[in-house]
């Protein structure tokens, strides 16, 4: 592709993955970062004095959550409490991500933003409104689609994006996916957290732990089937911290999302024109934070073998794959398209 040198110089391209739990940015000047999708505003004047900032984003917002009005803007639960707040929160996340990329003054910013495929979570128009304030030209796409684009799988494959609130499935046919090519189920990362929480609660009724701790256990130790290591954590049982083996609970919680994913994959493949089914079966690609569960690709492949010759792999960098694909889209997009928007 030939670019006019000058033109190339003055534009900063970036791809953003706006996720329920994490958001990431990749930019043409080499930035590759992700943050937690939390935004908080100090609850009152005093809190603002103490914190010393008028708005906090990411981990910082989580740390000060007690003195903040906290938003996870793409979470439907929060949208209920204030649509206005959510849109403002999206603006803050975008602003923060763009700052991470350090654009030079006067540079034109061209962004492709990937949003969850679950159309409920997000109103594309609202996203456009929230983002366009900070960029010169903008395109919004759905998340599993940008993952596919990033790894050059444009046809005969299926992307399975295992996120926090949803697992999004997307069959690629060489065009932008239609409604029929996409499906969303809700047995995803948060669901694993719920399962693990209740399993641990059953085993240690007298212990104190919250969902946040449980999520950290999961992210540290997650696996399916078998691994050769012990998983022991410190839990305050009866008020005294002591070491406990939670390997079996971790495994059961992680495996709980396998059957619905298997079922959805087979159902979607069966809807495809039989001519292409074989090729799609050999091209199932996992992405999203949930694909970091150790052994999940192998496990899915084995479970699927009952239904045909499947091959399941995982993208190289699940937490950045969406943003990376969005950046690639931004860079490949002919400049006349950018002009028109």
């Amino acid at each position: 592709m030939i670019f006019n040198e000058e033109q190339r110089e003055s534009v900063l391209f970036f791809g953003v993955d706006l996720g329920t739990s994490r958001s990431a940015i990749c930019s043409s000047n080499g930035t590759r970062e992700w943050i937690e999708s939390f935004v908080g505003w100090p609850k009152d004047f005093i809190a603002e004095k103490v914190i010393g900032k008028s708005v906090l984003v990411g981990t910082e917002a989580l740390q000060h959550r007690l003195s903040l009005d906290l938003y996870r803007p793409l979470d439907r639960g929060v949208i209920k409490e204030g649509i206005e707040g959510s849109e403002r929160a999206v603006k803050e996340i975008i602003r923060h991500l763009i700052e991470l990329a350090r654009p030079e003054p006067g540079q034109r910013l061209h962004a492709v933003v990937g949003v969850p495929a679950d159309s409920l979570k997000i109103n594309k128009l609202a996203i456009r409104r929230a983002v366009s304030e900070h960029v010169h030209s903008l395109m919004v796409v759905s998340e599993p689609f940008s993952i596919a684009y990033g790894i050059d799988l444009l046809s005969n494959c299926m992307i399975v994006d295992i996120g926090a609130g949803t697992v999004d499935f997307c069959v690629m046919h060489g065009t932008i996916p239609s409604e029929e090519d996409q499906k969303t189920i809700f047995t995803a990362g948060d669901y694993v957290d719920e399962q693990l929480y209740s399993l641990l609660l059953q085993k240690y009724p007298n212990s104190k732990f919250n969902r946040n701790m449980v999520r950290q256990f999961k992210e540290q130790f997650s696996f399916v089937r078998t691994i050769d290591e012990q998983i022991c954590v410190e839990l305050p049982v009866n008020g005294k911290p002591s070491i406990h083996d939670i390997k079996d609970e971790i495994r059961r919680a992680c495996e709980s999302i396998i059957p619905p994913i298997v079922e959805t994959i087979t159902e979607m493949v069966s809807r495809v024109d039989p001519e292409f089914q074989t090729r799609i079966r050999k091209n199932i690609v996992l992405g999203g934070g949930g694909s970091l569960i150790r052994g999940i690709a192998q496990c899915l492949q084995e479970e699927l073998s009952e239904y045909g010759d499947y091959q399941v792999t995982r993208v190289a960098d699940p937490l950045l794959a969406g943003a990376f694909g969005a950046l690639k889209l931004a860079q490949d997009m002919p400049s006349r398209y950018w002009e028109a928007l």
Binding site: R76, I79, K80, I83, E84, E87, V112, D118, S119, L120, N123, K124, L125, A126, R128, R129, L138, M139, V140, V141, Y149, D152, L154, S155, G174, T175, I176, S178, E179, E180, K183, T184, I185, F186, T187, Y191, E194, Q195, S198, S256, P259, P260, E263, T264, L329, D332, M333, P334, Y337, A340, L341
Partner: protein, 346 residues
């Protein structure tokens, strides 16, 4: 050589995709523009838009299945449903002008009620079965028709508490109501949203699962061919038409019904699974249910759980469990309606 062809295909796919992304975003951006215009649009134009919507809905219905009675048509035909194969008959509207389609296309991302600038939502709740039609029967003798009616009543009360005054029920007691009558009723109260409540029965397995259905058009080649024939008079070629229909079909009633179904499914499943870890998410599916057919508003059918599961049957006998389910449904409805409200936020 094969390598050369593969590369060529990738390049072709890529430029098609880039163009697709661009066009889709152009549409969204234009919608933002239309949102502002919409506020200033006079009533008469709304009525005109409504007429076009009805006309095109009829075309769409005509393509999907046999047309059913609709508010804008005097011709009433009997609905015919085929479960395995979609039945195609001629549609009552012969052609739609290019201009009309363009107008529609521009607005087609908006739910119908919103497109017409209506603020109040008329919600119709349909308690499945009734009278002689018992629906599924549990081992302890409890009937689906009684569960659905009780949940429908509780749902109505809950919605009214949440600030939705206009809630209607297709049946208020243990009466037999024909499916077509339910549709006619929903039309007569000018429903904006239609939810049919059922309880599943899986004969061969003890699993307990939740699933939600909506009605959508088909990808059937024959249907698309017919679209070409029916619209031969218009300036569009079959391919243009296919694209517009695909867009209209997805973004209007179908997309809305799917969104609505997902909202219901999500709320039902996420909440139910907290109470019962074994319950399964069977997701949102398309199916040709008669009750979902006749309405040009988002319409879904929820199978709230499985009466065939013995533990679930015992739970369904408790008032508390039925109330919980009603509340989950109310949450799903309210979440759906609130998402739509974002359109009006500036």
């Amino acid at each position: 050589m094969p390598d050369f062809f593969a590369r060529k295909r990738v390049l072709r796919d890529r430029s098609r995709i880039l163009r697709g992304v661009y066009e889709e975003n152009l549409l969204i951006a234009r919608r933002g523009f239309n949102c502002d215009l919409r506020r200033k649009r006079s009533l008469s134009r709304r009525v005109l838009a409504y007429g076009i919507v009805c006309a095109v809905m009829l075309v769409l219905h005509g393509l999907d299945v046999t047309p059913v009675p609709s508010r804008s048509s005097d011709e009433v035909e009997t609905p015919v449903i085929a479960t395995d194969e979609i039945v195609v008959t001629a549609s009552p509207v012969k052609s739609v002008s290019v201009a009309e389609l363009r107008t529609l296309e521009q607005k087609s991302d908006l739910p119908l009620s919103r497109m017409l600038g209506l603020g109040i939502h008329n919600i119709v709740i349909d308690a499945g079965h009734g009278g002689d039609d018992l629906g599924a029967i549990g081992k302890t003798g409890i009937a689906e028709k009684d569960i659905t009616l009780d949940i429908a009543r509780k749902l109505k009360a809950r919605l009214q508490d949440l600030g939705y005054p206009n809630v209607f029920m297709t049946r208020e007691d243990d009466a037999a109501v024909l499916l077509a009558e339910r549709v006619a009723f929903a039309q007569s109260v000018e429903a904006d949203l239609f939810l049919s409540i059922h309880v599943n029965w899986l004969p061969n397995t003890p699993v307990n699962l939740i699933e939600t259905f909506y009605f959508g058009p088909s990808r059937d080649k024959r249907v698309l061919e017919l679209a070409g024939q029916e619209n031969r008079g218009s300036e569009y070629g079959l391919n243009d038409f296919k694209e517009i229909l695909a867009r209209l079909g997805t973004v209007m009633k179908v997309q809305e019904s799917k969104d609505f179904a997902e909202s219901i499914q999500k709320s039902l499943f996420v909440n139910s699974s907290r109470k019962n870890r074994k319950i399964r998410d069977n997701g949102v599916k398309r199916a040709p249910f008669v009750v979902l057919l006749g309405l040009d508003v988002p319409s879904v059918l929820a199978e709230i759980s499985c009466l065939s599961n013995p533990a679930e049957e015992l739970m369904l006998k408790t008032d508390e469990h039925r109330r919980d389910i009603a509340w989950y449904l109310a949450e799903g409805i309210s979440n759906y309606l609130n998402t739509g409200a974002e359109d009006d936020f500036q």
